[in-house]
Symmetry: C2
Subunit: 478 residues, 2 copies
């Protein structure tokens, strides 16, 4: 975290730490926060920096100043904002052109001059860059011919062993032979779709769901049925079953841990019910668990795959949310579709970078991964909280926002009349990148929603951007 100190003002780091104490219950509403003097000693900062931290926390509604008594924890604004509504509608299969979805956002994702609330990723300094670089240097010195051979699917053994070794943490007991390395989770999901369905087939997805899933299915000529999805409780399983009956669904794509964009983590009962239901109908499940390691609670939540008895669940993930995403190391545990997935990787990319595979394998083997993820999750939890606070303060009345159980994303329901696409465009014109809700569905159901990435290190500029975004909401009436 040394690098973070350079970028985040000291008072904000201290404030983040206090928020974390409040979040975890170490400091409770009504309790007195440490005195300014005590805080400055604890943190080895000047009294004025400690005061600055408290004043910022007061301005954000975390603390209240009581004359001559000091600062007290108050009921945060953010906990008063309601969560988004569950609205259902028809479940007709759609076939969607990919153009709209992707072109809408590609510009904003690529523009480095924007305040980055768009792409779902952490600030660069949150990654263990130093440790990864040490490993890279070691590989280069020890094995100068590291990349000189093709590494054919299923990927290098050392990495697959490490991934398999971690699989009991999510309730699976998959061996290295059951792992196929991919170029990111998106390759895993996209090839899983090709392994189990053909153009014209119908796929069930959550609604809202990650736009890459919608784009991928659409670009393969598959039809999409969106199953109404409760912002805390997940996809409606009864409706999923009726869709399976009605539309001969070939596969269901689901994110039960740290859903993108909803942020929920579903219960083991739900996961078992989903595994049983799909098994009963012989429907393949493509489980996108790319945010799974980012659940705030410990131990890490289980996967639907852990309840899979028939090999029908293809568990897809990557290290792009916890380690530098430019490494491009993803994987799939394809169950009974193992051979087909190996073939498809062979025909699509052959492999992802050997050096990346080796580096991730060594980082996992070093044992540093769990410690790193713990720190990362604390950072994400407090950043998500900061952004929720800002939304509570600066966004128009009637705004609703998710309370994620993990990850770095917030899903914001704006007042009904707000046109989020207009907001997206107005924000982009002011170099603020967000994602409009409509790309998370084939319908126009989420036209007044936006998704915000909270993985970035907080700064004045981020705060100003959210103030501005709140004002722009007013102008973005449909």
């Amino acid at each position: 975290m040394a690098a973070a100190a350079v970028l985040t003002p000291l008072y904000l780091q201290i404030a983040e730490d206090i928020i974390e104490r409040i979040r975890t219950g170490t400091l409770r509403p009504g309790e007195k926060a440490p005195s300014i003097r005590r805080l400055s000693e604890q943190k080895r900062v000047s009294v004025s920096t400690a005061l600055q931290a408290y004043m910022w926390l007061e301005s954000r509604g975390h603390l209240e100043a009581r004359p001559r008594s000091g600062f007290f924890v108050r009921q945060a604004f953010a906990s008063l904002i309601p969560e988004p509504r569950f609205e259902t509608s028809g479940m007709q299969p759609h076939s969607l052109g990919t153009h709209d979805i992707i072109d809408t956002i590609r510009t904003s994702l690529r523009d480095p001059s924007c305040i980055p609330f768009a792409a779902g990723c952490a600030s660069p300094e949150l990654f263990p860059n130093r440790a990864i670089n040490l490993i890279l240097r070691r590989i280069v010195n020890r094995q100068p011919q590291h990349s000189a051979m093709y590494q054919f699917p299923p990927g290098i053994d050392a990495l697959r062993r490490q991934i398999a070794r971690r699989s009991p943490d999510s309730g699976c007991g998959v061996a290295a032979e059951g792992v196929v390395v991919t170029c990111g989770a998106i390759e895993a999901v996209s090839l899983s779709l090709r392994a189990v369905a053909r153009p014209g087939d119908v796929i069930a997805v959550e609604s809202p769901t990650y736009f890459g899933i919608l784009g991928s299915a659409a670009s393969l000529g598959m039809k999409i049925v969106e199953i109404p999805t409760h912002p805390q409780d997940g996809m409606d399983l009864e409706r999923l079953e009726s869709a399976i009956r009605k539309h001969r669904i070939k596969a269901c794509i689901t994110m039960s841990n740290c859903h993108n964009p909803l942020g929920y983590v579903l219960s083991d009962e739900y996961k078992k019910a989903l595994a049983d239901l799909t098994a009963r109908h012989n429907v393949a499940v493509i489980e996108d668990d790319v945010y799974g390691d980012l659940a705030y609670e410990s131990p890490r939540p289980r996967t639907v795959k852990s309840f899979d008895k028939k090999g029908l669940v293809m568990l897809c993930s990557s290290f792009s949310k916890t380690l530098p995403p430019g490494l491009r190391v993803g994987w799939v545990m394809p169950g009974r579709f193992q051979a087909e997935m190996e073939r498809l990787v062979f025909l699509s990319t052959v492999a992802t970078s050997t050096l990346s595979q080796m580096a991730v394998a060594e980082f996992l083997a070093s044992g540093a991964y769990d410690r790193h993820v713990k720190r990362l999750n604390a950072a994400f939890a407090s950043r998500v909280d900061i952004v929720r606070q800002a939304i509570a303060r600066y966004f128009p009345e009637g705004t609703r926002v998710t309370r994620p159980a993990g990850g770095l994303l917030l899903w914001v329901e704006l007042p009904r009349k707000t046109d989020a696409l207009k907001l997206y465009q107005a924000a982009l014109a002011e170099r603020i990148a967000i994602l409009p809700g409509r790309i998370f569905s084939t319908s126009n159901r989420f036209r007044n929603h936006i998704r915000l990435n909270c993985g970035q290190t907080w700064s004045e500029a981020h705060e100003r951007a959210l103030v501005r975004l709140g004002r722009l909401c007013e102008d973005a009436r449909a």
Copy 2:
């Protein structure tokens, strides 16, 4: 080449050098080779090593010993072996399961205990590993956060500029904006197919052609028409035109430089005729130029793309044949399909490794690439020659073999009654990996053909393997 010295016996290195002199015409048939003493001085080796080299060259038919006169260059055996026959047959669209094709060979590609005549790749020590590693260390030191951000399509600018800067060498004047980086050439080809055709559409390919192309088209549910392809003169353009007329072909996949497996380089006239013909019918061309830099002749041959006036040619390539293939850096110049290709990369893999992209960009910028490729081509040319010689000596009468104008592959037509799949299996049982001809076609047209990779450093083990392979041909009668 320092590392090669460790692996190749000294006398073989010297022999390779003599073959290279013969190949380039420095030593001509009938001329006297340097005396043993002179050679030992030139090469700073013992007289007995020099003698060993000459005896080996004599045993392979390169030199003949004349009593008391020394060694003379003779007409090589290999130039006496005819090239494979051009056989045409019907052009019916096939739709092929990918299973057979890929599963047949995946085992042999992955097994490190085999003598590797299968995968099309060079010996590890032929790559500029030291220079690449220097660059990797530099990037890691200079930009510790090198991989910490997503790099969205079309790929990093520095690499695309370098690729664009080289494009005039193949007759194209494409700007960096016209380049999309991919995870190897196979991703470029596979996504190009998806950009221009849909499941059920018909694609024209050369026959034989690279099995990855057939597998890729098949896995996308496309139908394949094989255009009869002359072993030196390429695809029959009249037949291509009649197939276009008859089958409403959506795209034609072609390799006009260092064809895999045939090894030819086609003339500029041919390339222009192909570009004109496809343009006339508005058929997209997917040009796989992955071996293009490996043409033995200088300057580097042009591409079909260089004659493209309508933006219909998608030029696909990679650095996997000239730089370490585990880097996974490929690219496409998609012409009018630029936006669609960027979308498809975004939905398929997002990107290939950032570090790899940066490393290749710096290696290209250093100016070392051209020198390296020149050395590599000399090595490939002499290795291909050595394998041709061995085939001439050890394979049954009636064997025919290509005389490649570039690359590291030989296409061998065995006597008609040989079943190359049996041969493949018998060879694999003895830890010799080759590729059976049938995977290069959807038909059974090449059942008595094999493809041999000659990119490996020559050793006694390779020689013994080819002796054995020649004998196994006798047993592999259909």
